[in-house]
C-alpha cells in the first residue's frame, strides 16, 4: 500500500493554511523546442482544471500552441498505434496508474529522470523525494490522487426518502430501483461486486486470482446487468445523473464535485469503498528532439509545487506532491472549502480500496476479455 502513507499525509495537509506562496513567473529558456504540443487527457471537468492551472498559463508565458485530445481512456491503444505507425502524434499523455505501468512495461513511454527533469520543491527538496511514494514506476510523473466513487440523485421518488449509505445499494434493486451507470471496464467493478458478495477487503485479489473468482464477480454484476448504462468517459455519469437517465453511478470524485458544487445538480456523493488511484503524465517514446525538449520543459512547469496546488483549486483531487498540499484550501472561483470533497478527507475514507496496480497490470488482458465477453452476452 504505497498510497497509504501519502493519503494520511494529504489528509493532514488538508487543514487550511490559506496563503499560497508567491511564485516567480520566470521560466527557464527552452532551446531547440517545438512551438506546439498535443496533450491527451480525460476531457470534461478534469481537463478543464489542467487547462486553467497550467496549460493556459504555460501558453501565455511561452506562446506554445496546445491541442487537446480527449482520448485517455484508450491511451495505451492510441500510443501503440502511433508508435507502430512511427508517427507519434501525442506529445504528452495523461493516464491513470495501471495504464502508466502498462505503457512502461511495453516500452511505449520514456523513462523519467525525476530529479533532473522535474522541479524541486520551493524549499529545495528534490522532486523524487517530494513526490515520494506517488512515483510508482520510472515512466510516470504523478499529478493527483483521485478516487472513483458513486454519486446518486437526491430526488428519486421511488426510494421513499431513503438515500444509499453503503456501496451495496448499487446491487439493491428492491430498495433503490432505477438505472445505474458503471464503467465499461472490469477494473473496480469486479472489486465492488466481490465486496458486496461478502468477500473481505484483504482477500479480494486472492479471490480474483483464484479459479472462478472473476466469474463470481461477474455473476454478482449479472444481478443488475439489465439496469446498467455502461460509460467509457468520466464525464458521462455526471451528465446521466443530471439528465435523470440514471439514479446512481460510479465516476471520479472530481467530476461529481463539479456537478454538485459548480452546476448545483441534485446529486449526492457516496463515499463508501472509494478506490484510490494516481493520475499523471507519461512521455511517449518516439518524439523528435524538439518535441521532447518542449514536453520536458512543460512538464517541469506543470508539475511544480504551485501548479499542482493550483489544479486542486479547480477540482477536488489531491495534489501528488507533498509540498503542494499545504497550498490547497478553497475553490478558485467559488471560495468554498475543498476539504469535504477531497477523497483524502478522513470522514470520506472510512472504507476505501487502493487500486492494485501490479495485479491489474498482470491480469488486465485476461480479465478484460472475460468482462467484454460477459458484457456482450
Amino acid at each position: 500500500m504505497t498510497l497509504k502513507s501519502l493519503l494520511s499525509a494529504t489528509a493532514l495537509a488538508m487543514l487550511p493554511l490559506g496563503a499560497s506562496a508567491a511564485f516567480a513567473e520566470d521560466l527557464p529558456p527552452c532551446d531547440n523546442c517545438s512551438d506546439s504540443m498535443v496533450l491527451m487527457s480525460w476531457g470534461g471537468a478534469y481537463q478543464a482544471s489542467q487547462v486553467a492551472a497550467y496549460a493556459e498559463p504555460y501558453s501565455k508565458l511561452t506562446g506554445v500552441k496546445i491541442t487537446w485530445d480527449e482520448g485517455s481512456n484508450e491511451a495505451i491503444a492510441k500510443m501503440r498505434a502511433a508508435s507502430e505507425a512511427g508517427n507519434m502524434t501525442y506529445s504528452l499523455v495523461d493516464v491513470e496508474g495501471p495504464d502508466s505501468q502498462r505503457a512502461c512495461d511495453e516500452g511505449l513511454a520514456e523513462e523519467i529522470d525525476f530529479d533532473k527533469d522535474l522541479a524541486a520543491a520551493p524549499d529545495g527538496t528534490a522532486a523524487s523525494k517530494d513526490f515520494g511514494s506517488a512515483i510508482i514506476n520510472e515512466c510516470f510523473v504523478p499529478q493527483i490522487v483521485f478516487s472513483t466513487t458513486f454519486g446518486y440523485r437526491t430526488d428519486v421518488k421511488e426510494w421513499n426518502g431513503k438515500v444509499p449509505d453503503n456501496l451495496c445499494a448499487i446491487f439493491d434493486l428492491e430498495n433503490f430501483p432505477g438505472m445505474r451507470a458503471l464503467e465499461k471496464r472490469p477494473k473496480k467493478n469486479l472489486e465492488w461486486a466481490l465486496l458486496c458478495d461478502g468477500v473481505p477487503k484483504e482477500e479480494l485479489y486472492t479471490v480474483l486470482s483464484s479459479e472462478g473468482g472473476v466469474d463470481r464477480a461477474l455473476a454478482k454484476l449479472d444481478t443488475i446487468k439489465d439496469q446498467v448504462v455502461w460509460w467509457s468517459a468520466g464525464a458521462e455519469t455526471p451528465q446521466l445523473l443530471a439528465d435523470g437517465e440514471v439514479v446512481m453511478g460510479s465516476t471520479y470524485n472530481g467530476r461529481l464535485f463539479s456537478a454538485i458544487v459548480e452546476q448545483k445538480q441534485p446529486i449526492g456523493m457516496l463515499w463508501d469503498w472509494q478506490v484510490f488511484d494516481f493520475d499523471g503524465w507519461v512521455v511517449p517514446k518516439g518524439l523528435d528532439e524538439a518535441q521532447k525538449n518542449r514536453v520536458l520543459h512543460f512538464l517541469n512547469f506543470a508539475t511544480d509545487t504551485q501548479r499542482l496546488a493550483d489544479q486542486a483549486k479547480y477540482i477536488s483531487y489531491g495534489p501528488a506532491r507533498a509540498s503542494s498540499q499545504p497550498l490547497v484550501s478553497t475553490h478558485a472561483t467559488l471560495g468554498i472549502e475543498m476539504a469535504p470533497y477531497m477523497p483524502t478527507n478522513p470522514a470520506n475514507q472510512k472504507n476505501y480500496l487502493v487500486n492494485n496496480i501490479e495485479w491489474w497490470a498482470d491480469n488486465q488482458d485476461e480479465v478484460e476479455v472475460a468482462f467484454q465477453n460477459w458484457l456482450s452476452k
Binding site: V38, M40, G43, G44, T67, W68, D69, E70, G71, A81, A82, E84, A85, G86, N87, T89, Y90, S232, A233, A235, E236, Q239, D243
Partner: protein
Amino acid sequence: MSLPVYASTGQRIWHYAFRVICGLIFFFLIAPIVIIIPLSFNAQDFFTFSPEMLRLDPAGYSLKHYQDFFTNPDWQLPLWNSLAIAPVATLIAVSLGTLAAIGLSQSHVPFKSAIMAILISPMIVPLIISAAGMYFFYSRVGLQGTYWGVVLAHAVLGIPFVIITVTATLVGFDRSLTRAAASLGAGPVRTFFMVQMPLIMPGVVAGALFAFITSFDEVVVVLFLGAPGDKTLPWQMFTGLREQISPTILAAATVLVAISIALLITLEVLRRRSERLRGMSPT
C-alpha cells in the same frame, strides 16, 4: 391515384387510411430532423422542451448554443478542419474520377467490369472494414495520424459517387458531337473542354457534391486515421454524443441540416439543368 366516384365505402376508408399511414411515415422520416431545430434554441441545457418553450415564451429561447458553437475553439477547430479536408478530398476525387469515367465510357475498354468493381468497391465495403484496413496499412506507411492520410482516405471514399454520377451523364452523351468537333479541326483537349465538359458538367458537380458530403459527414475513418489536431466536425459530434453531451451539439446539427438543404437544392437545380441540356442534344 384520385378516388373514383364509384368507390365503395370500404375503398374510401382504405384510401384515407392509407394516406394517413403514409403521412405518419413521412412524419417519422422528417420529424427527428425538424425537432432538433427548435431544441437548439433552448435557453436551458436540456434536450427536451422546457415549459417556457412550449408557452412560446421568448425567455425560453436563446442563441447561446450557437454562440458557443461559433466561438468555442472545441467546435471551431473541427469546423475549420472539416473545411480544410473536404474540399481537397473532393478535388482529388473529382479530377481523377471524371477522367476515369470518360475512359470507362469509351467502347472497347478491356476488363471493364472488373475495373468498375474495383472503383465502386469503396462504396460497398462497410466503413468499419475500410477504416480497419486503412488504419493497418496507413500505419505501416506513416500516413496514419496525418492530414494527408485523412484526405486520401476521404478522396477514395468519394470516388464511387463521382464515377456513378459522371458515367450516368455520359450514357446519354451523343458521341457524334465529339466527332463533329474533331471534323471541324478541334484537338482532343479542345474538344474535351469545349464540347464534352459543358455537357457532363452537371454530373461532375453532382459527383463533387456527393464526394464533398461524404468527406464532410464521414466519421468512422477519421476516428481511426485522424490525429487530434485534425479532429473534424462529425468526430467532435461523436465524442460529444458519447461523452459530454451538451446542447451545442444541436446547434451544430442545425447548421449541418442547413448545409444539407443547400446541397439538396443545388442538386435539384443541376438535375433539371442536365435534363434540359440533354433534351437539346440530338439523340
